[in-house]
Subunit: 279 residues, 2 copies
């Protein structure tokens, strides 16, 4: 029996965490939201619905769970009124109001419900500290122009985060080629690959950077943005010089593979100190 539950969404992070927990010999309960299957080989997850959140929390408590890690992506689901149990129904006004107010508000509300029930919500990096690199250039060497593009992209992402929009932007030669919205990072980078080539004023100048950071109001325990080898491949296809992210604020999936792929593609990877000091 374990006191840890992994609430898994889609994407690579849940499987990575599960593997690391297994490697450390740490048992855990795996759970997923119906409609958002997690990819964690060799395990049968508990499945829950938002409409029956309170019975699910009671089930976790009955299994001795005291700590919860959220990992992976889910979307705000549509609710089926006929599936709602009475205890959860009492919480619905709060949940619905939060779901109207945006992703961050929704997450804060969900975390609040877990905590009120006595479950501690902890960050994935509590289990895998290497997951979130501190300030460093991991490979390659950003130029002065790249550093200016990174600073401008960081300012744009901060402004966007303040209105609860995406966590990424692409800047080249001081110009904002793309901003991340609901479709996400991959869609944005694909779009830059399709549209960006002709937009840079100086074809032989700086190729630009993709910058990623958490939103200012984001609860870092449950919702750090993540990048991985797929991001490196897409940034290379978009013709960028490198990937920059807020040091301590972004999960790197398969870091060794990311570095190897970036080296092969000639991209730099830079976990940038948000205070702006080097590196």
């Amino acid at each position: 029996m374990s006191d840890l539950a992994l609430i898994a969404g889609t994407g690579a992070l849940p499987g990575l965490l599960a593997g690391a927990l297994d490697a450390q010999g740490e048992g855990f309960v795996l759970a997923e939201m119906e409609g958002f299957p997690a990819t964690v080989p060799g395990r049968e997850p508990l499945r829950f619905r938002v409409e029956r959140l309170v019975p699910f929390l009671d089930d976790l408590l009955a299994r001795g769970v005291g700590r919860v890690i959220f990992a992976g992506a889910v979307r705000r689901p549509r609710l089926d009124p006929s599936a709602i149990d009475p205890a959860t129904a009492a919480l619905l006004p709060r949940l619905m109001a939060a779901m109207q107010a945006g992703d961050d508000a929704t997450l804060r509300a969900v975390i609040g419900l877990f905590e009120e029930r006595g479950l501690a919500v902890v960050g994935a990096e509590a289990v895998l500290p290497d997951l979130v690199p501190g300030a460093a250039v991991l490979t390659g060497a950003p130029t002065e122009a790249d550093r200016r593009d990174a600073a401008r992209a960081a300012a744009i992402v901060a402004a966007l985060g303040a209105v609860d929009v995406g966590q990424g932007a692409v800047v080249a030669q001081g110009l904002c080629l793309a901003v991340e919205a609901l479709p996400g990072t991959d869609a944005m980078l694909d779009w830059v690959a399709a549209t960006g080539a002709g937009l840079r004023p100086d074809a032989s100048g700086a190729k630009g950077v993709f910058y990623k950071a958490p939103k200012p109001g984001q609860d870092r325990r449950v919702d750090l943005p993540a990048i991985g080898p797929e991001t490196v491949a897409r940034a290379a296809a978009a013709g960028l010089a490198g990937i920059v992210w807020e040091a301590g604020g972004v999960i790197c999936l398969n870091r060794a593979e990311m570095v190897a792929d970036a080296e092969a593609a000639g991209l730099f990877l830079w976990a940038r100190d948000p205070g702006g000091t080097e590196p």
Copy 2:
């Protein structure tokens, strides 16, 4: 001889203004930046280069020009050092610094150079007041959900404008489907048409709005954003409920055609009071 010059860029606005000036019997000098041909039928424009801006300003003054209207789009050009004349060379440090700092700064610098030379820069709506609608619903009827989406989109565009990024966003059911960057409105709406359908949580809920507004720091005499029938067609193709813009801050090209097209497509058109009062 006329004291008015129309500095024309690309797009529909210069031709529309020229036609209106002709209809009012008001003469004008037409000029365009080399590489950014204006579409103004039946007229041979003066052509100028940024590298020889001072001789061009002198030429305008010699022709008796005292008022200048900027209309249409240009991009920050690459400069050819060999083409720079000595008088313009003295201004280059200012211009280059502004071009590094973004579109708004570049425009402010260019306006400043015209004004220092004694040329008054006036807005297009000084010639065509109907071009910039005041607060009104021009056609259709935004629902409460549409009004919430418009308010959220306005907040997003304001946050973006503060960091000198685009002037538009698409919001549906409170979610930001897309944000405008360098590729512009048309590219963004096409992208929503390609990606947006599956992103709305409630397929039968609000279809969302495209919102457009000038940036907070934008000089409204020279750089109001513009929408037109093409925008209506693209918003319809993107499956949106309507187009909303900041009343008094956006040029409507071919307003009658826009309204007819929007009616035919079932879209509303709403020039929204940025103060949030109705309409």
